[in-house]
Point group: D2
């Protein structure tokens, strides 16, 4: 890590994550964690947390990890599977690096509820535009 | 279509889609369309529309189509690929059914910008819990 | 189309597709089609066509389309959903371009059986290394 | 583990995996490993291992894990990202359970080459038809 970038500021500047109500708890080169306390505005038409809210929670973790590894990283693909419908309490998303090459990075993020049950699993693929930095 | 369900009401009740600022424009058994006018709150830390906002726009179309086909349908997997970074104007998501079996439904949703360029492609997989209704 | 490349030769040189027993039937810039007649060696441990055989059938169509659009194209991600278990007859995979940007191409391939039922839906993402050719 | 099922026999009976040339090395409820030594017949038209061969290697590990957890499990979706083109040596696929609910199981499989580099990452989603067995 060095001061050429500031992921905390990056997350503070993420207006959509703030608008949705997501808080980044921890971040390092190997692991990141975020939290979303379920509110009325996260629910869909059948009163469970919207897939888009779960995706956004996981995507913030993916984006923060990608940014730590390479400021030039852009998301090109993401895949999410849902395991449990939920409508109350708070959710934690934890992500980690799976593979990093000069051009691509793969990350997995798992969302769990307060009972420790898996709510969703997210797999993100980032493209490193400058392809220059190695993992610190 | 019949009055056993009301997808318009379903979408009106979708608080997350409303909170994010998504409007369902059209829906039928074969096709659905939604719109999102880009606002400041949709942007991420590098000033482009957040992947979670794009996903939510596509997911609303997917969810509405799934609901039309089967009220018992739940999303189990979604895959999104991003093609163009964007930060202004409005986005249209159009979705259609790809395959429907007694247990599963597959849908594809394409997001385009005002220039007609593809911004993202979304593939959603729904599980039909009651497995009883045929496509109308 | 021009004679700078020869996709037919590309497919003839694809030893894995030949070994598995896949035949490319048609190809153009917009659409491609391949066939696999189910044989004993395609079956898995529970006597249905192996997911890997279905994937390979779809992947050949995806690869041929990507090659037509850009000889420098490499596959970076693929997503497949399975809808029907099958163990006899022949399968047809038809693919088409969904989106093409200077850097990325997205393709969808649908596999159907002799009854016209959807067996699998495949979504492929290609990266264009030279990023130079436009769609003809 | 008990003798209600026999995953080794399941893998021996997998004719496609045998035809492609994949060997299951290890399996338990938590982890499985398979090997493929690259042969001429695994190559595609540009002389690298075919995506379908990599997918089949990962899919065998996914299928074996799913079968250990639940004999009634069927694959419904898989997602693969490619990181390194390769044409010689042997490949190892290692898979593990990510999440298991009464209805769904999620697995991740990583393929590495002899240098320890990641060649591909695979995410598989299984549906448990009988939904009855717990993880042993």
């Amino acid at each position: 890590m060095d001061n050429r970038y500031d992921h905390t500021r990056y997350c503070e500047k993420d207006r959509f994550a703030q608008y949705v109500g997501i808080e980044l708890l921890e971040i390092s080169a190997q692991r990141a964690k975020a939290k979303m306390t379920i509110r009325e505005h996260h629910l869909n038409g059948v009163n469970i947390v919207h897939g888009g809210a779960l995706f956004t929670l996981a995507d913030l973790v993916f984006g923060a990890l990608g940014y730590v590894h390479d400021q030039s990283s852009v998301s090109i693909n993401a895949n999410i599977s849902y395991f449990k419908a939920i409508n109350t309490g708070s959710l934690i998303a934890e992500g980690k690096l799976v593979a990093l090459t000069p051009k691509l990075g793969s990350y997995t993020v798992q969302i769990t509820d307060e009972e420790g049950d898996t709510v969703a699993v997210f797999q993100g693929l980032g493209y490193r535009r400058r392809q220059s930095r190695v993992l610190e």
